[in-house]
Protein backbone atom coordinates (compact mmCIF):
# COMPACT_ATOMS: atom_id res chain seq x y z
CA UNK A 1 0.00 0.00 0.00
CA UNK A 2 2.79 2.41 0.94
CA UNK A 3 4.64 1.61 -2.27
CA UNK A 4 1.51 2.37 -4.26
CA UNK A 5 1.11 5.85 -2.81
CA UNK A 6 4.81 6.64 -2.96
CA UNK A 7 4.79 5.72 -6.64
CA UNK A 8 1.90 8.06 -7.30
CA UNK A 9 3.61 10.85 -5.35
CA UNK A 10 7.00 10.35 -7.05
CA UNK A 11 5.30 10.13 -10.45
CA UNK A 12 3.50 13.41 -9.92
CA UNK A 13 6.71 14.98 -8.64
CA UNK A 14 8.57 13.91 -11.83
CA UNK A 15 5.85 15.56 -13.92
CA UNK A 16 6.16 18.75 -11.88
CA UNK A 17 9.93 18.82 -12.45
CA UNK A 18 9.28 18.55 -16.20
CA UNK A 19 6.73 21.35 -16.06
CA UNK A 20 9.25 23.52 -14.19
CA UNK A 21 11.82 23.02 -16.95
CA UNK A 22 9.40 23.89 -19.73
CA UNK A 23 8.20 26.92 -17.76
CA UNK A 24 11.75 28.25 -17.52
CA UNK A 25 12.13 27.90 -21.30
CA UNK A 26 9.34 30.46 -21.77
CA UNK A 27 11.66 33.25 -20.72
CA UNK A 28 14.58 32.29 -22.94
CA UNK A 29 15.29 34.35 -26.07
CA UNK A 30 13.75 33.18 -29.34
CA UNK A 31 16.23 31.25 -31.47
CA UNK A 32 14.17 30.76 -34.64
CA UNK A 33 14.04 33.04 -37.67
CA UNK A 34 10.71 33.95 -39.33
CA UNK A 35 12.06 32.78 -42.65
CA UNK A 36 10.53 34.62 -45.61
CA UNK A 37 10.78 37.96 -43.78
CA UNK A 38 14.22 37.45 -42.31
CA UNK A 39 17.06 35.38 -43.69
CA UNK A 40 20.36 34.33 -42.23
CA UNK A 41 23.70 35.00 -43.85
CA UNK A 42 25.38 31.94 -45.26
CA UNK A 43 28.85 31.10 -43.99
CA UNK A 44 31.87 31.83 -46.19
CA UNK A 45 32.35 28.18 -47.03
CA UNK A 46 28.72 27.50 -47.87
CA UNK A 47 28.45 25.19 -50.86
CA UNK A 48 25.73 26.45 -53.18
CA UNK A 49 25.63 25.70 -56.89
CA UNK A 50 28.80 26.54 -58.77
CA UNK A 51 29.56 29.79 -60.55
CA UNK A 52 32.27 30.73 -63.05
CA UNK A 53 35.01 33.07 -61.87
CA UNK A 54 36.16 35.93 -64.04
CA UNK A 55 39.66 37.32 -64.47
CA UNK A 56 40.60 41.03 -64.43
CA UNK A 57 39.28 41.65 -67.93
CA UNK A 58 35.88 40.16 -67.14
CA UNK A 59 36.40 37.01 -69.19
CA UNK A 60 35.93 33.59 -67.60
CA UNK A 61 39.10 32.05 -66.19
CA UNK A 62 38.02 28.67 -67.52
CA UNK A 63 40.34 27.20 -70.15
CA UNK A 64 38.02 24.28 -70.97
CA UNK A 65 40.41 21.58 -69.80
CA UNK A 66 37.42 19.38 -68.90
CA UNK A 67 38.85 18.35 -65.53
CA UNK A 68 35.64 19.23 -63.70
CA UNK A 69 33.50 17.40 -66.22
CA UNK A 70 35.58 14.28 -65.67
CA UNK A 71 35.58 14.63 -61.87
CA UNK A 72 31.83 15.11 -61.52
CA UNK A 73 30.20 11.97 -60.08
CA UNK A 74 26.76 12.73 -61.48
CA UNK A 75 27.81 14.02 -64.89
CA UNK A 76 25.90 17.27 -64.54
CA UNK A 77 28.53 19.52 -66.14
CA UNK A 78 28.70 19.86 -69.89
CA UNK A 79 31.27 22.15 -71.47
CA UNK A 80 31.14 22.92 -75.17
CA UNK A 81 34.16 24.19 -77.03
CA UNK A 82 35.23 24.93 -80.56
CA UNK A 83 38.71 24.89 -82.01
CA UNK A 84 39.91 28.06 -83.63
CA UNK A 85 42.94 28.57 -85.80
CA UNK A 86 45.02 31.63 -85.20
CA UNK A 87 48.31 32.96 -86.52
CA UNK A 88 51.22 33.81 -84.33
CA UNK A 89 54.68 35.11 -85.11
CA UNK A 90 57.46 32.79 -83.96
CA UNK A 91 61.08 33.77 -84.79
CA UNK A 92 59.95 36.11 -87.54
CA UNK A 93 57.75 33.48 -89.21
CA UNK A 94 53.98 33.36 -89.20
CA UNK A 95 52.65 30.04 -87.92
CA UNK A 96 49.12 28.74 -87.64
CA UNK A 97 48.16 27.31 -84.28
CA UNK A 98 44.99 25.87 -82.84
CA UNK A 99 43.31 26.79 -79.61
CA UNK A 100 40.18 25.75 -77.75
CA UNK A 101 37.54 28.38 -77.13
CA UNK A 102 34.85 28.05 -74.51
CA UNK A 103 31.41 28.59 -75.99
CA UNK A 104 29.11 27.00 -73.43
CA UNK A 105 29.23 26.01 -69.78
CA UNK A 106 26.04 24.25 -68.70
CA UNK A 107 25.23 22.96 -65.25
CA UNK A 108 22.32 20.58 -64.81
CA UNK A 109 21.49 21.43 -61.22
CA UNK A 110 18.74 18.78 -60.99
CA UNK A 111 21.35 16.03 -60.68
CA UNK A 112 24.08 17.97 -58.87
CA UNK A 113 24.84 16.64 -55.39
CA UNK A 114 26.88 19.68 -54.28
CA UNK A 115 29.92 17.58 -53.40
CA UNK A 116 32.45 20.13 -54.59
CA UNK A 117 34.63 17.73 -56.58
CA UNK A 118 34.58 20.08 -59.58
CA UNK A 119 35.88 23.05 -57.60
CA UNK A 120 38.60 20.90 -56.10
CA UNK A 121 39.70 19.44 -59.42
CA UNK A 122 39.99 22.85 -61.10
CA UNK A 123 43.61 23.87 -61.58
CA UNK A 124 42.83 27.47 -62.56
CA UNK A 125 40.44 28.38 -59.72
CA UNK A 126 37.89 29.11 -62.41
CA UNK A 127 34.82 27.92 -60.48
CA UNK A 128 33.57 28.59 -57.00
CA UNK A 129 30.39 28.17 -54.98
CA UNK A 130 27.65 30.75 -54.98
CA UNK A 131 25.86 31.62 -51.76
CA UNK A 132 22.41 31.40 -53.31
CA UNK A 133 19.92 29.08 -51.71
CA UNK A 134 16.49 30.48 -52.60
CA UNK A 135 16.14 28.32 -55.66
CA UNK A 136 12.60 26.92 -55.49
CA UNK A 137 10.75 26.70 -58.77
CA UNK A 138 7.86 24.88 -60.42
CA UNK A 139 9.76 24.57 -63.67
CA UNK A 140 12.44 21.97 -64.20
CA UNK A 141 14.12 24.05 -66.90
CA UNK A 142 14.94 26.71 -64.30
CA UNK A 143 17.61 24.43 -62.91
CA UNK A 144 19.58 24.10 -66.14
CA UNK A 145 22.03 26.91 -65.59
CA UNK A 146 24.00 28.44 -68.42
CA UNK A 147 26.88 29.68 -66.32
CA UNK A 148 28.57 31.57 -69.16
CA UNK A 149 25.45 33.67 -69.66
CA UNK A 150 25.12 34.22 -65.92
CA UNK A 151 28.66 35.55 -65.85
CA UNK A 152 27.91 37.95 -68.71
CA UNK A 153 24.73 39.15 -67.01
CA UNK A 154 26.60 39.71 -63.79
CA UNK A 155 29.15 41.87 -65.58
CA UNK A 156 26.73 43.93 -67.64
Amino acid sequence: MGAYFSEIFLGLWSLLIGLGITFKEFFKPVVTVPYPFKTIKMSDRYRGHIELVEDESGEPKCIACMMCQRACPSGCISITTKTEKYEVEVDGEMKTKKRKILIGWDLNFTTCSLCGQCVESCNKDAINFSKEYNLASFNKEDFHFDLLNRLKERNS
Partner: protein, 372 residues
Protein backbone atom coordinates in the same frame (compact mmCIF):
# COMPACT_ATOMS: atom_id res chain seq x y z
CA UNK B 1 3.54 -5.89 -18.92
CA UNK B 2 4.18 -7.43 -22.28
CA UNK B 3 3.01 -10.76 -23.55
CA UNK B 4 -0.26 -11.89 -25.02
CA UNK B 5 -3.23 -12.77 -22.87
CA UNK B 6 -4.77 -14.95 -25.54
CA UNK B 7 -4.11 -15.42 -29.20
CA UNK B 8 -6.82 -16.81 -31.41
CA UNK B 9 -5.29 -17.62 -34.75
CA UNK B 10 -8.65 -17.72 -36.50
CA UNK B 11 -9.52 -14.11 -35.73
CA UNK B 12 -6.42 -12.20 -36.76
CA UNK B 13 -6.23 -9.33 -39.19
CA UNK B 14 -3.39 -7.75 -41.15
CA UNK B 15 -2.25 -4.24 -40.35
CA UNK B 16 0.12 -2.31 -42.56
CA UNK B 17 2.34 0.15 -40.75
CA UNK B 18 3.94 2.25 -43.45
CA UNK B 19 5.47 2.68 -46.00
CA UNK B 20 4.35 6.19 -45.14
CA UNK B 21 3.92 6.29 -41.41
CA UNK B 22 5.47 8.71 -38.92
CA UNK B 23 6.46 5.94 -36.50
CA UNK B 24 8.71 4.19 -39.00
CA UNK B 25 10.81 7.36 -39.64
CA UNK B 26 11.00 6.76 -43.34
CA UNK B 27 9.67 4.43 -45.96
CA UNK B 28 9.76 1.19 -44.02
CA UNK B 29 6.71 -1.02 -44.23
CA UNK B 30 5.80 -3.44 -41.46
CA UNK B 31 3.14 -6.03 -42.22
CA UNK B 32 1.66 -7.01 -38.89
CA UNK B 33 -0.72 -9.85 -38.22
CA UNK B 34 -2.73 -8.64 -35.28
CA UNK B 35 -4.94 -10.22 -32.68
CA UNK B 36 -6.69 -7.21 -31.27
CA UNK B 37 -3.85 -5.05 -30.01
CA UNK B 38 -1.34 -7.88 -29.83
CA UNK B 39 1.09 -8.69 -32.61
CA UNK B 40 1.01 -12.33 -33.71
CA UNK B 41 3.54 -12.00 -36.47
CA UNK B 42 5.38 -9.09 -38.04
CA UNK B 43 7.23 -8.86 -41.29
CA UNK B 44 9.33 -5.90 -42.32
CA UNK B 45 9.24 -5.09 -46.03
CA UNK B 46 12.22 -3.23 -47.44
CA UNK B 47 13.36 -1.75 -50.69
CA UNK B 48 11.21 1.35 -51.10
CA UNK B 49 14.21 3.64 -51.50
CA UNK B 50 16.83 1.25 -52.78
CA UNK B 51 19.31 3.36 -54.77
CA UNK B 52 22.04 0.82 -55.61
CA UNK B 53 24.86 2.57 -53.80
CA UNK B 54 26.97 -0.57 -54.00
CA UNK B 55 26.66 -0.77 -57.77
CA UNK B 56 27.39 2.95 -58.04
CA UNK B 57 30.53 2.28 -56.03
CA UNK B 58 31.62 -0.23 -58.63
CA UNK B 59 30.94 2.05 -61.59
CA UNK B 60 32.57 5.21 -60.29
CA UNK B 61 36.12 6.07 -59.35
CA UNK B 62 36.98 6.12 -55.65
CA UNK B 63 36.74 9.91 -55.14
CA UNK B 64 33.47 9.98 -57.05
CA UNK B 65 31.84 7.61 -54.55
CA UNK B 66 32.56 9.98 -51.65
CA UNK B 67 29.31 11.96 -51.89
CA UNK B 68 27.34 8.69 -51.97
CA UNK B 69 28.51 7.69 -48.51
CA UNK B 70 26.93 10.79 -46.96
CA UNK B 71 23.61 9.84 -48.53
CA UNK B 72 23.51 6.51 -46.71
CA UNK B 73 22.73 7.96 -43.35
CA UNK B 74 21.82 11.61 -43.43
CA UNK B 75 21.98 12.02 -39.64
CA UNK B 76 25.49 10.70 -39.05
CA UNK B 77 27.10 11.22 -42.45
CA UNK B 78 30.62 11.88 -41.11
CA UNK B 79 31.06 8.40 -39.69
CA UNK B 80 30.19 6.71 -42.96
CA UNK B 81 32.56 8.86 -44.99
CA UNK B 82 35.19 8.09 -42.38
CA UNK B 83 34.77 4.37 -43.06
CA UNK B 84 35.22 4.86 -46.78
CA UNK B 85 38.31 7.04 -46.58
CA UNK B 86 39.93 4.70 -44.05
CA UNK B 87 39.24 1.67 -46.26
CA UNK B 88 40.66 3.30 -49.37
CA UNK B 89 43.65 4.69 -47.44
CA UNK B 90 44.36 1.21 -46.15
CA UNK B 91 44.04 -0.21 -49.66
CA UNK B 92 46.16 2.40 -51.42
CA UNK B 93 48.61 2.86 -48.56
CA UNK B 94 48.11 6.60 -48.11
CA UNK B 95 49.56 8.20 -44.99
CA UNK B 96 47.36 10.68 -43.13
CA UNK B 97 48.83 13.67 -41.26
CA UNK B 98 48.18 13.72 -37.53
CA UNK B 99 46.18 16.94 -37.54
CA UNK B 100 43.78 15.52 -40.11
CA UNK B 101 43.24 12.42 -37.97
CA UNK B 102 42.39 14.51 -34.91
CA UNK B 103 40.04 16.79 -36.82
CA UNK B 104 38.33 13.72 -38.25
CA UNK B 105 37.79 12.25 -34.80
CA UNK B 106 36.37 15.54 -33.50
CA UNK B 107 34.05 15.86 -36.49
CA UNK B 108 32.80 12.28 -36.22
CA UNK B 109 32.08 12.67 -32.52
CA UNK B 110 30.28 15.99 -33.03
CA UNK B 111 28.20 14.33 -35.67
CA UNK B 112 27.48 11.41 -33.36
CA UNK B 113 26.17 13.82 -30.72
CA UNK B 114 24.00 15.53 -33.36
CA UNK B 115 22.65 12.17 -34.51
CA UNK B 116 21.86 10.98 -30.99
CA UNK B 117 20.20 14.32 -30.21
CA UNK B 118 17.88 13.98 -33.16
CA UNK B 119 17.18 10.37 -32.26
CA UNK B 120 16.39 11.45 -28.70
CA UNK B 121 13.89 14.03 -29.91
CA UNK B 122 12.25 11.71 -32.41
CA UNK B 123 12.10 8.84 -29.93
CA UNK B 124 10.36 10.92 -27.27
CA UNK B 125 8.03 12.22 -29.96
CA UNK B 126 7.16 8.61 -30.83
CA UNK B 127 6.11 8.18 -27.23
CA UNK B 128 3.92 11.27 -27.38
CA UNK B 129 6.12 14.03 -25.95
CA UNK B 130 6.72 16.83 -28.42
CA UNK B 131 8.63 19.42 -26.36
CA UNK B 132 11.95 17.53 -25.94
CA UNK B 133 12.28 17.38 -29.73
CA UNK B 134 12.37 21.17 -29.86
CA UNK B 135 15.05 21.36 -27.17
CA UNK B 136 17.10 18.64 -28.87
CA UNK B 137 16.89 20.37 -32.24
CA UNK B 138 18.03 23.64 -30.69
CA UNK B 139 21.18 21.97 -29.36
CA UNK B 140 21.68 20.09 -32.60
CA UNK B 141 21.51 23.37 -34.49
CA UNK B 142 24.65 24.57 -32.69
CA UNK B 143 26.51 21.52 -33.96
CA UNK B 144 25.17 21.91 -37.49
CA UNK B 145 26.18 25.58 -37.55
CA UNK B 146 29.68 24.66 -36.45
CA UNK B 147 29.97 21.92 -39.04
CA UNK B 148 28.50 24.13 -41.76
CA UNK B 149 31.03 26.87 -41.09
CA UNK B 150 33.84 24.36 -41.64
CA UNK B 151 32.51 21.96 -44.26
CA UNK B 152 30.08 24.18 -46.14
CA UNK B 153 27.17 21.79 -45.84
CA UNK B 154 24.67 20.95 -43.14
CA UNK B 155 23.89 17.25 -43.53
CA UNK B 156 25.72 15.62 -46.41
CA UNK B 157 29.18 16.86 -45.59
CA UNK B 158 31.56 15.09 -47.98
CA UNK B 159 34.37 16.61 -45.91
CA UNK B 160 36.99 13.86 -45.69
CA UNK B 161 39.38 13.22 -48.54
CA UNK B 162 41.74 10.34 -49.17
CA UNK B 163 44.77 11.32 -47.13
CA UNK B 164 43.23 14.23 -45.27
CA UNK B 165 40.50 16.80 -45.30
CA UNK B 166 38.72 19.10 -47.71
CA UNK B 167 39.77 22.22 -45.79
CA UNK B 168 41.24 23.08 -42.44
CA UNK B 169 39.40 24.02 -39.27
CA UNK B 170 39.89 27.57 -38.02
CA UNK B 171 40.05 29.14 -34.57
CA UNK B 172 36.37 30.04 -34.73
CA UNK B 173 35.49 26.38 -34.92
CA UNK B 174 37.77 25.43 -32.03
CA UNK B 175 36.31 28.20 -29.85
CA UNK B 176 32.74 27.30 -30.79
CA UNK B 177 33.36 23.62 -30.03
CA UNK B 178 34.91 24.48 -26.67
CA UNK B 179 31.93 26.67 -25.81
CA UNK B 180 29.54 23.95 -26.93
CA UNK B 181 30.79 21.26 -24.51
CA UNK B 182 29.64 22.88 -21.21
CA UNK B 183 26.41 23.94 -22.91
CA UNK B 184 25.71 20.38 -23.99
CA UNK B 185 26.54 19.00 -20.54
CA UNK B 186 23.96 21.39 -19.07
CA UNK B 187 21.44 20.27 -21.66
CA UNK B 188 22.07 16.60 -20.89
CA UNK B 189 21.20 17.30 -17.27
CA UNK B 190 18.06 19.06 -18.44
CA UNK B 191 17.03 16.06 -20.58
CA UNK B 192 17.71 13.77 -17.67
CA UNK B 193 15.34 15.71 -15.43
CA UNK B 194 12.76 16.33 -18.14
CA UNK B 195 12.58 12.91 -19.80
CA UNK B 196 14.52 10.16 -18.04
CA UNK B 197 12.84 10.81 -14.72
CA UNK B 198 9.39 11.21 -16.21
CA UNK B 199 7.00 8.59 -14.88
CA UNK B 200 5.04 8.18 -18.14
CA UNK B 201 8.27 7.71 -20.09
CA UNK B 202 9.61 5.11 -17.66
CA UNK B 203 6.37 3.16 -17.51
CA UNK B 204 6.37 2.81 -21.28
CA UNK B 205 9.95 1.58 -21.55
CA UNK B 206 10.97 -0.26 -18.41
CA UNK B 207 11.00 -4.05 -18.91
CA UNK B 208 9.37 -3.60 -22.32
CA UNK B 209 10.80 -4.60 -25.66
CA UNK B 210 13.36 -7.15 -24.51
CA UNK B 211 16.23 -7.81 -26.92
CA UNK B 212 18.59 -10.34 -25.40
CA UNK B 213 22.31 -10.65 -26.03
CA UNK B 214 21.67 -13.97 -27.72
CA UNK B 215 19.26 -12.38 -30.19
CA UNK B 216 21.77 -9.60 -30.90
CA UNK B 217 24.42 -12.19 -31.72
CA UNK B 218 22.01 -14.14 -33.90
CA UNK B 219 21.14 -11.16 -36.07
CA UNK B 220 24.47 -9.38 -35.87
CA UNK B 221 23.13 -6.33 -34.09
CA UNK B 222 25.79 -3.83 -33.03
CA UNK B 223 26.03 -0.39 -31.52
CA UNK B 224 23.72 0.90 -28.80
CA UNK B 225 21.27 -1.99 -29.39
CA UNK B 226 23.90 -4.59 -28.49
CA UNK B 227 25.34 -2.46 -25.68
CA UNK B 228 21.87 -2.14 -24.19
CA UNK B 229 21.76 -5.95 -24.10
CA UNK B 230 24.97 -6.23 -22.12
CA UNK B 231 27.40 -6.89 -24.99
CA UNK B 232 30.52 -4.81 -24.41
CA UNK B 233 31.45 -4.21 -28.01
CA UNK B 234 32.56 -0.95 -29.53
CA UNK B 235 34.68 -0.90 -32.69
CA UNK B 236 36.56 2.13 -31.34
CA UNK B 237 37.78 0.01 -28.42
CA UNK B 238 37.84 -3.52 -29.83
CA UNK B 239 39.36 -2.83 -33.25
CA UNK B 240 40.88 0.63 -32.76
CA UNK B 241 41.32 2.77 -35.84
CA UNK B 242 42.42 6.34 -36.54
CA UNK B 243 43.53 8.12 -33.32
CA UNK B 244 40.95 6.56 -31.01
CA UNK B 245 43.55 4.67 -28.91
CA UNK B 246 44.85 8.09 -27.84
CA UNK B 247 41.57 9.06 -26.20
CA UNK B 248 40.36 8.14 -22.77
CA UNK B 249 36.66 7.23 -22.90
CA UNK B 250 34.31 4.56 -21.60
CA UNK B 251 31.85 2.34 -23.41
CA UNK B 252 28.48 2.51 -21.63
CA UNK B 253 26.93 -0.95 -21.25
CA UNK B 254 23.57 -1.77 -19.67
CA UNK B 255 22.34 -5.27 -18.89
CA UNK B 256 18.58 -4.68 -18.63
CA UNK B 257 17.94 -5.53 -22.33
CA UNK B 258 14.81 -3.32 -22.42
CA UNK B 259 14.03 -0.17 -24.37
CA UNK B 260 15.12 2.02 -21.46
CA UNK B 261 18.58 0.43 -21.47
CA UNK B 262 19.08 1.34 -25.11
CA UNK B 263 17.93 4.88 -24.35
CA UNK B 264 20.40 5.14 -21.47
CA UNK B 265 23.27 3.83 -23.59
CA UNK B 266 22.77 6.61 -26.13
CA UNK B 267 22.44 9.31 -23.50
CA UNK B 268 25.68 8.14 -21.86
CA UNK B 269 27.38 7.90 -25.24
CA UNK B 270 26.77 11.59 -25.82
CA UNK B 271 28.68 12.37 -22.63
CA UNK B 272 31.54 10.10 -23.75
CA UNK B 273 31.61 11.78 -27.17
CA UNK B 274 31.91 15.15 -25.44
CA UNK B 275 34.89 13.78 -23.53
CA UNK B 276 36.54 12.70 -26.77
CA UNK B 277 35.90 16.11 -28.36
CA UNK B 278 37.38 17.84 -25.30
CA UNK B 279 40.54 15.73 -25.43
CA UNK B 280 40.77 16.10 -29.21
CA UNK B 281 40.63 19.88 -28.98
CA UNK B 282 43.34 19.87 -26.29
CA UNK B 283 45.62 17.61 -28.28
CA UNK B 284 44.93 19.10 -31.72
CA UNK B 285 48.40 19.36 -33.28
CA UNK B 286 49.51 21.96 -35.82
CA UNK B 287 50.54 20.86 -39.25
CA UNK B 288 49.30 20.05 -42.72
CA UNK B 289 45.92 18.48 -43.39
CA UNK B 290 46.91 16.70 -46.58
CA UNK B 291 49.92 14.44 -47.10
CA UNK B 292 52.83 15.80 -49.15
CA UNK B 293 52.86 12.81 -51.47
CA UNK B 294 49.51 11.71 -52.73
CA UNK B 295 48.80 9.71 -55.86
CA UNK B 296 46.95 11.75 -58.47
CA UNK B 297 44.77 8.82 -59.45
CA UNK B 298 43.84 6.36 -56.76
CA UNK B 299 44.44 2.80 -57.93
CA UNK B 300 44.75 0.40 -54.99
CA UNK B 301 46.76 -2.75 -55.68
CA UNK B 302 44.89 -6.00 -56.25
CA UNK B 303 43.37 -7.29 -53.07
CA UNK B 304 40.53 -7.49 -50.63
CA UNK B 305 40.23 -4.73 -48.02
CA UNK B 306 37.85 -4.29 -45.11
CA UNK B 307 37.44 -1.51 -42.61
CA UNK B 308 34.92 -1.23 -39.81
CA UNK B 309 34.07 1.97 -37.99
CA UNK B 310 31.73 2.76 -35.13
CA UNK B 311 29.01 5.06 -36.40
CA UNK B 312 26.16 6.47 -34.36
CA UNK B 313 24.09 3.37 -35.11
CA UNK B 314 26.67 0.63 -34.76
CA UNK B 315 29.46 -1.07 -36.62
CA UNK B 316 29.63 0.05 -40.23
CA UNK B 317 31.84 -2.09 -42.42
CA UNK B 318 33.08 -1.39 -45.89
CA UNK B 319 34.68 -4.00 -48.10
CA UNK B 320 36.56 -3.07 -51.23
CA UNK B 321 37.78 -5.69 -53.66
CA UNK B 322 40.22 -4.05 -56.00
CA UNK B 323 41.42 -5.42 -59.31
CA UNK B 324 44.04 -2.72 -59.69
CA UNK B 325 41.95 -0.32 -61.77
CA UNK B 326 40.48 3.03 -60.77
CA UNK B 327 37.09 1.46 -60.05
CA UNK B 328 36.39 -1.05 -57.32
CA UNK B 329 35.57 -4.58 -58.48
CA UNK B 330 33.27 -5.13 -55.52
CA UNK B 331 32.01 -2.46 -53.16
CA UNK B 332 30.16 -3.94 -50.21
CA UNK B 333 28.57 -1.90 -47.44
CA UNK B 334 27.65 -3.55 -44.16
CA UNK B 335 25.17 -1.17 -42.62
CA UNK B 336 24.43 -1.42 -38.90
CA UNK B 337 20.75 -0.50 -39.05
CA UNK B 338 19.98 -3.38 -41.40
CA UNK B 339 21.10 -5.92 -38.78
CA UNK B 340 19.53 -3.95 -35.96
CA UNK B 341 16.21 -3.89 -37.77
CA UNK B 342 16.25 -7.57 -38.75
CA UNK B 343 15.62 -8.61 -35.16
CA UNK B 344 12.43 -6.55 -34.99
CA UNK B 345 10.37 -9.35 -36.60
CA UNK B 346 11.28 -11.81 -33.89
CA UNK B 347 11.45 -9.41 -30.96
CA UNK B 348 8.00 -7.89 -31.39
CA UNK B 349 6.04 -11.15 -31.49
CA UNK B 350 3.41 -11.13 -28.78
CA UNK B 351 3.90 -7.48 -27.91
CA UNK B 352 1.26 -4.78 -27.91
CA UNK B 353 1.47 -2.51 -30.93
CA UNK B 354 2.38 0.67 -29.06
CA UNK B 355 5.11 -1.16 -27.16
CA UNK B 356 6.44 -2.54 -30.44
CA UNK B 357 6.54 0.95 -31.95
CA UNK B 358 8.36 2.25 -28.87
CA UNK B 359 10.86 -0.57 -29.31
CA UNK B 360 11.24 0.29 -32.99
CA UNK B 361 12.03 3.85 -31.96
CA UNK B 362 14.70 2.60 -29.57
CA UNK B 363 16.43 0.76 -32.44
CA UNK B 364 17.19 4.11 -34.11
CA UNK B 365 16.32 3.21 -37.68
CA UNK B 366 17.43 5.33 -40.60
CA UNK B 367 15.78 3.80 -43.63
CA UNK B 368 18.01 5.11 -46.48
CA UNK B 369 20.83 3.33 -44.76
CA UNK B 370 18.97 0.00 -44.63
CA UNK B 371 18.02 0.09 -48.29
CA UNK B 372 21.13 1.93 -49.51
Amino acid sequence: MSGPIHIRKDETFTLNVGPQHPATHGVLRVKMEMDGEYIVKAETVLGYIHRMHELMGENRTYPQVLPNLSRLDYLGAMGYTHGHVLAVERAAGIEVPERAEYVRAIMVELNRVASHLFWFGAFVMDLGGFTPLMYAIEDREYILDMLEAVTGSRLTYCYFRFGGLYNDVDDDFVNAARAFIPRMRKSLKKYDALVTGNIIFRKRLENIGPISAEMCRKYGATGPVARGAGIDFDVRKNEPYSVYPEFDFDVPVYHECDSLARYKVRMDEMEQSLRIIEQGLDKLPEGPIMPKKKPKLIKPPKGDYYQAVETARGSFGIRIVSDGTKNAYRFKLRSPTYSNMSLFDEACEGMMIMDALAMMGSLDLVIPEIDR
